[in-house]
């Protein structure tokens, strides 16, 4: 069986082969085996490589290297930002603003803050999936400790105007965090935008390895952040634990490569996505979740009337690897709360496919994917009872 066409880059992107090579070289190099925190020559050699990677990562988001805290991934970054910033606040600031469409990391971190006695305002998106700066403005209070809103949504790809939100927070002295796991390396992301205090991202969404991420922590003024894990005091005291050089080297190179591709790649991917959307019209009735723009280029969330999601996935199994709206957002498999908060019915949610494109995706791939999906949808619909097409939408 030929390998399935991979259209699940938003779940994780395949490791860039150049990054794989660099990591393998790092793992095999006897000179780079020491602990970067060790004072001896071997440790210093490792520390130099860490500094190099930190610079590469920082550059992609226009930050200074000292503002980058390495973590184990975006889940940790988001938790460190949200839990850390709020727990570090005095009792006078107990209010948090976030949205209903954050990634589970942000959502569950804010739920934990509620359990810890904080009050959370959960902004709801419009039917277009967008959270607007005016909603944030209306939610801010005297005692707001943190605003945490994702940049690009991982299920529907829509972008929040974080510049506008950051500006609001800046004006009021409120810490603003954005989860940029789905946007860094896909569109230009600039930490120097006034008001961005904390910004989360990770390597494996942009061609780097899984298990490593970063939190940008603004230097001046530096937001107070309580660490999640304590220990030797690495990463400016914010994130203790031995640094994994091969992971950082892979992350660094992936950032450099993604940065170099930012000129052409977004437009190419966006064009492919719209081509896919056009070709899928042959499977009408269907709908698109979330506004087409503003968005990151590579994510298309589409629902097919009369389709049961699990059967569609089995139809596509071995042909196309994609995510289902039935279970986009968790390791446990519940219907997407993101699509639900866009006002979709549970039936419509489960009939959804998230197709996400990446660097390796070609026009040929898109054509093949569209024809496979159109055929699969047609076959399942051919067996539907009368009336089902209308009721499942």
């Amino acid at each position: 069986m030929a390998r399935a066409l991979y259209l699940d880059h938003a779940a994780t992107a395949p490791l860039d082969p150049r990054v794989a090579d660099a990591m393998a070289a790092c793992l095999a190099d006897p000179e780079l085996q020491a602990n970067p925190a060790s004072a001896h020559a071997a440790g210093r050699a490792a520390a130099e490589q860490v500094a190099l990677a930190r610079g590469q990562v920082a550059r992609l988001v226009n930050a200074s290297p000292e503002a980058i805290v390495f973590t184990s991934g975006a889940t940790e970054s988001v938790n460190l930002a949200a839990l850390g910033a709020v727990r570090a606040c005095g009792p006078g600031r107990r209010h948090v603003v976030t949205s209903r469409i954050e990634h589970r990391a942000g959502l569950d971190a804010c739920r934990q803050l509620e359990r810890e006695g904080h009050e959370v305002t959960w902004l709801a998106p419009g039917r277009d999936g967008l959270i607007r700066a005016e909603q944030v403005a209306a939610a801010l209070r005297e005692d707001t400790a943190l605003v945490s809103l994702m940049h690009a949504n991982n299920e529907i790809g829509t972008l929040t105007d974080i510049g506008a939100v950051a500006g609001l927070c800046e004006a009021r002295g409120i810490t603003f965090h954005t989860d940029a796991a789905q946007s860094v390396g896909k569109v230009a992301v600039d930490c120097a935008v006034p008001g961005i205090a904390l910004l989360s991202f990770c390597a494996h969404k942009l061609g780097g390895p899984k298990g490593v991420g970063a939190l940008y922590v603004r230097r001046r003024p530096r937001p107070q952040v309580q660490p999640l894990q304590f220990g030797g005091g690495h990463e400016g005291g914010l994130r203790s634990g031995t640094l994994a050089l091969h992971q950082l080297a892979g992350f660094g190179l992936a950032c450099e490569l993604a940065g170099a591709a930012l000129g052409e790649e977004p437009a190419r991917i966006r064009t492919l996505r719209e081509r896919l959307w056009q070709q899928l019209q042959a499977a009408a009735p269907l709908w698109r979740n979330g506004a087409a723009e503003p968005s990151v280029p590579g994510i298309l969330s589409v629902g097919f009337a009369g389709i049961e999601g699990e059967s569609l996935l089995l139809e596509l199994d071995g042909e196309i690897a994609a995510s289902s709206g039935a279970a986009c957002s968790s390791a446990t498999g519940e219907p997407s709360y993101v699509l639900r908060s866009l006002g979709r019915s549970d039936e419509a949610i489960q009939a959804t496919l998230r197709l996400s494109l990446g660097r390796g995706t070609t026009a040929q791939d898109i054509d093949r994917a569209a024809s496979v999906i159109v055929r699969a949808v047609a076959r399942l619909r051919a067996a539907l009872p009368a009336g089902a097409l209308e009721r499942i939408a």
């Binding site: 699990e310 279970a327 446990t332 051919a382 067996a383």
Partner: protein, 129 residues
């Protein structure tokens, strides 16, 4: 980012792949009888149609919306009904279907919809008799 890997038995895969028996009854001699059950909250909707002639089910078709187990169960039932004498029909319930399909426990609710559709079919068939 995705559903827990549900594994499908060879029986499920083969019925799902062919969807044998899906569609409408072709015109023929005998009485056409149908039975249907819907439970959209469980994502299952199954309709059986049979043609009965001389005390025997001479043809059986299904239409269904549902997961692979639901579709496979409907297809399996349709195949078994075809040719069966009306007074000695094979017995099916959700339990036997789950067993034949090697379905996980969380699929029982959906298989009950198949069982319901079959029950309605048989009730209608006996009324026709």
């Amino acid at each position: 980012m995705s559903a827990p890997a549900t594994r499908y038995s060879a029986t499920v895969r083969s019925h799902f792949r062919s969807l044998a028996g899906a569609g409408d009854l072709p015109p023929a001699a005998g009485a056409a009888v149908s039975g249907e059950a819907v439970a959209l909250d469980r994502l299952a909707w199954v309709r059986f149609a049979v043609r009965i002639d001389a005390g025997r089910i001479v043809d059986c078709r299904f239409r269904a919306f549902g997961c692979p187990h639901t579709l496979a169960a409907a297809s399996l039932v349709a195949g078994r009904l075809r040719g069966a004498p009306i007074d000695a029909l094979p017995a099916f319930d959700a339990g036997t279907l789950a067993c034949e399909l090697d379905a996980p426990a969380e699929k029982m609710g959906r298989l009950l919809v198949v069982e319901d559709a079959l029950r309605h079919l048989l009730a209608n068939a006996h009324r026709v008799q």
